[in-house]
């Protein structure tokens, strides 16, 4: 087809179809609810949830993972609008990681013996934590991909990674309801690893999932 023919064809339909506003949020909220139900039913909340809610670290890890989810969500939104950029994202990410990494390091350095250090770092659940966070992020990750596929993603790898981080952070926040661990070193390692899995998956599958 010649270009003027194509233009004549496209020009017949200048006004875009109306969008249903709020639908992306609804889909994301629905997926988050699915992950929440999975946690409540399959993993069960930690029995001492009520008393844990009085501890600083309970809220500390929640704020940490939610801020990562926020950075991911913001970056995914920016990168799916042509002409917008997310230059601040790496810096924000670094700041959040340091905010947990520095207390983690000082906690380990302050530990009296190698044995306590190991206990702080590995906790009781280091084997299952990253895998569970990654698995719980799946519904939310799928919802993000659904949302992004309806937008114009111009940086598919970065947007995929950002969506993975947003999903991983949200799943980690829900996982806080179940997780009994409360050391910064544990969170800085195993939570981060769990959130990195969907982020890496998003990076790797970005072109395949978000191409248009």
């Amino acid at each position: 087809m010649r270009t003027d023919e194509l233009i004549a064809l496209l020009a017949r339909d200048p006004t875009p179809p109306p969008e249903a506003p709020g639908r992306p949020l609804l889909v994301l909220a629905g997926a988050t609810l699915i992950s929440l139900v999975l946690i409540l039913v399959l993993l069960r909340p930690r029995p001492d949830l009520a008393s844990a809610a009085g501890e600083t670290m309970f809220w500390g890890k929640l704020v940490f993972v939610l801020s990562l989810a926020g950075v991911g969500a913001w970056a995914a939104r920016q990168l799916s609008a042509p002409g917008r950029v997310a230059r601040a994202a790496p810096l924000l990410l670094l700041a959040a990681l340091l905010a947990m990494g520095i207390p983690a390091a000082s906690e380990l350095l302050a530990a009296p013996q190698a044995q306590t250090r190991g206990a702080l770092w590995l906790g009781k659940t280091w084997r299952t934590c990253p895998g569970l966070i990654a698995a719980l992020s799946l519904p939310i990750f799928a919802a993000w991909i659904w949302v992004l596929r309806r937008r114009a993603v111009v940086a598919p790898r970065l947007a995929g990674a950002a969506a993975g981080l947003a999903a991983g952070g949200m799943a980690a926040a829900l996982y806080c309801l179940h997780c009994p661990e409360s050391s910064a070193a544990f969170v800085a390692t195993w939570y981060v690893l769990g959130m990195a899995v969907p982020a890496a998956a998003g990076w790797l599958a970005g072109w395949r999932l978000l191409r248009w």
Binding site: M1, T3, I7, L10, P14, P82, G83, R211
Partner: protein, 188 residues
């Protein structure tokens, strides 16, 4: 290509009127946009001049399908360029994959590689860069390329002059051109 700010002033009102349903303005926008894109893509697609118009059309379709994604606070040209760049990268990825798949030697492929090298040369300001890149090739590949592409010899003539088989010449030329094309692509 005209400057981005004058393109912005010209394209934006047309596009916004188009979104409100003005077909004539939208046609004008698409036409002006096609011209703008030709300039934008020509410099970046010099290795595939015959694909330029295809890509212009792909970008136009992309712009049209995503016209709801335009947010008024973003410069329109930034929006257009982001989409054009995305479609360009997508095209280069697809082309790269096809080339990797069609590894068997073919004259058509080598012609395309030569064209990439030529195209790269035009965009590079000085030809001495080619000499530098050529110097980086293994000597037999360099010699085979010089005989075939500069002296204009056939495969047979090159093979007998270099005392090697014809298929060796083909492989050497192909590999050498591929290396050159890759390096030119990297330098751009």
């Amino acid at each position: 290509m005209e400057g981005s700010s004058s393109a912005e002033e010209r394209l934006r009102p047309l596009f916004l009127r188009g979104l409100e349903g003005d077909e004539a303005a939208y046609t004008e926008f698409l036409k002006a946009c096609a011209a703008h894109l030709r300039g934008f893509l020509r410099r970046r697609l010099s290795a595939w001049p015959d694909r330029e118009e295809d890509l212009v059309q792909e970008v136009l379709i992309g712009l049209h399908n995503q016209r709801a994604s335009y947010a008024p606070e973003i410069p329109l040209t930034a929006w257009i360029h982001a989409i054009a760049r995305y479609k360009l990268v997508d095209f280069l990825r697809r082309t790269g994959r096809q080339e990797a798949l069609s590894e068997p030697l073919s004259d058509a492929l080598d012609d395309e590689l030569s064209m990439q090298v030529d195209g790269g040369l035009q965009s590079m300001q000085a030809q001495r860069d080619l000499a530098k890149l050529m110097a980086g090739l293994p000597a037999p590949q360099r010699e085979a390329i010089l005989h075939m592409k500069v002296d204009g010899w056939t495969v047979k003539e090159t093979a007998s002059a270099m005392q090697v088989t014809e298929s060796w010449v083909k492989v050497a030329v192909h590999r050498g051109l591929k290396t050159l094309a890759a390096q030119l692509g990297k330098d751009k």
